[in-house]
């Protein structure tokens, strides 16, 4: 904070330095305020003749005051005795202040008990609230019931079967009497249920990489649910250490939401890293 230079003409040649101090503003002391902070401002010239403002902030701390009985004060001056009287280094090293800060650990942090259930119910709430999530795969009705509880299940079954069960029916020829996997059997409720389930997992699935180690599933949910209802969040964890492996998946109910999330969050700075968000590629083996 150098102020304007003093012109050389103004300088007195005879006594350089010392006497110039009268040109400086007087020192100012501000405080101490409620937090014990005291500001001292004074000015000086540096080597080049620049005026320098020096602000020193100090904290004034009141030392704890205790009452000690006279006897205790007298005991302070007692000579050491026994093993302590040797006065060597070993004796002094017996007492050390812990390098570790120890806290009185509350059985539950204030408010934490209330937080935990709310977080989980939150997740649940989004699942229930997003009635769009509840899509019956038998009748295609939205938000009314789950597939397993479809009242039109039998109806749909018979309607659906003739076209889809053509192949399996041939396989299921009693004459051949070979083993037929349950899902290919004629009376199977879900003709290609297994396949369907797997596909559902990959649907609108977004892969997020370059996650920081501290990121957990709730964090990811928090980040992604802004774009629309999320059906699944998964963060890959190292099985041995339990720490994050730095990537995860988020499934959206709506494909458009997933697209939006990818366009917005790819390259987004999260924690200290830049996220890489893309469509998840389906597993090659299945």
């Amino acid at each position: 904070m150098a102020a304007a230079k003093i012109r050389w003409g103004e300088l007195d040649e005879d006594d350089d330095g010392g006497d110039l101090d009268f040109l400086l503003p007087p020192p100012v002391v501000v405080g101490p305020d409620a937090n014990g902070l005291k500001k001292t401002i004074h000015y000086r010239f540096d080597d080049d003749g620049n005026k320098v403002k020096v602000t020193t902030t100090t904290r004034v701390v009141k030392l704890a005051r205790t009452r000690i009985s006279k006897a205790a004060v007298e005991r302070r001056s007692w000579a050491k005795f026994g093993d302590a009287a040797t006065g060597d280094d070993a004796s002094a090293r017996l007492t050390v202040v812990s390098t570790e800060e120890i806290f009185l650990e509350r059985p539950r942090a204030p408010g934490s008990k209330a937080d935990e259930p709310s977080a989980s119910s939150d997740e649940l709430a989004t699942a229930n609230k997003g009635t769009a999530l509840m899509v019956c795969r038998s009748c295609g009705k939205k938000g009314d019931h789950w597939t397993a509880k479809c009242p039109y299940k039998d109806l749909v079954d018979t309607l659906d079967r003739p076209p889809t069960s053509d192949g399996p029916a041939a396989l299921n020829d009693p004459a051949k009497s070979s083993y037929v996997p349950p899902r290919l059997r004629k009376d199977a409720v879900y003709q290609d249920g297994g396949h369907d389930m797997r596909r559902r997992n990959d649907e609108n699935s977004v892969r997020v990489t370059n996650l920081s180690e501290d990121t957990r599933e709730p964090d990811l949910l928090e980040l992604f649910r802004a774009f629309g209802p999320v059906s699944r969040v998964y963060v890959a964890l190292d099985q041995r250490t339990g720490s994050s492996r730095g990537f995860g998946f988020v499934n959206f109910v709506q494909r458009e939401d997933a697209e939006k999330a990818i366009s917005k969050l790819n390259g987004y700075g999260y924690d200290n890293l830049i996220l890489h968000v893309e469509w998840a590629t389906p597993r090659p083996s299945n």
Binding site: K80, F81, L94, S98, I102, E105, R106
Partner: protein, 326 residues
Amino acid sequence: MRPILMKGHERPLTFLKYNRDGDLLFSCAKDHTPTVWYADNGDRLGTYRGHNGAVWSCDVSRHSARLITGSADQTAKLWDVKTGKELFTFRFDAPARSVDLAIGDHLAVITTDSFMGNMPTAQVKRIADDLQDQTEESALVISGITGRINRAVWGPGNRTIITAGEDATIRIWDSETGKLLKESDKEVGHQKAISSLSKSLDWSHFLTGSLDKSAKLWDARTLTLIKTYVTERPVNAVDISPTLDHVVIGGGQDAMNVTMTDRRAGKFEAKFFHKILEEEIGGVKGHFGPINALAFNPDGRSFSSGGEDGYVRLHHFDPEYFNIKM
């Protein structure tokens, strides 16, 4: 808070005691030398050399002039607190376990273990002002208890003596006649050996800790159970806060099992409970072994714990401690 660690003992701690002004802390351990420390900064003031066995407990007179210690070398000794000089030795035919000075410091109750066929006893000794008059004679001998007496203390007004020990029963005796006055209810009382007993500041009630993983608060006159604090570790040490409605309970799994399990399974914290609500306030970690001794400073601003690990940890509470709301 940053506790002060005092490593003056080479063996597990057995007992801690503050003097009345709270400026000195006396520690007893299974090594043979009780030690006195300054309670504010943990500086070692001195040691009391002379015992030849584990020292189980100690007590200090009101004006911090004399210290009495009970040891497994079958003696109890009187010491000059200031110089560490041994003043007198009470000899017994069994290890001395617990010592406690009465109000006025002219009487002491000392318990002896069962040993070589002897029954455990609690003996009252007179403490003379002038050492010339000091005798070894017992003013009263209480016997008839089976199992070790882990703690014997004076009741309100020196009228009674309260004993507690391995048989899980608390008994109140008349200190004049030695007659048994009251016995704790077996139903509501402790189920396993009582390891520790600590009086409240006004001696109106006291707290016992037991291996049955609980601590119980009792009325010192009527011996009615007031409160029970349930924890998940065997309790070795208890104390009552002199200023707040808090009690501290310490212990941990048996020392012989410590190396077989994870450190966290040991539960070597000192647990704070609300005295009235019986609710846990918090825990203070730090020891590497079970806690054997606990003591509040008489000013209530600090407490110390002694562990099987040989350390005394002196904790000065943070300001937040005094504003804890339940």
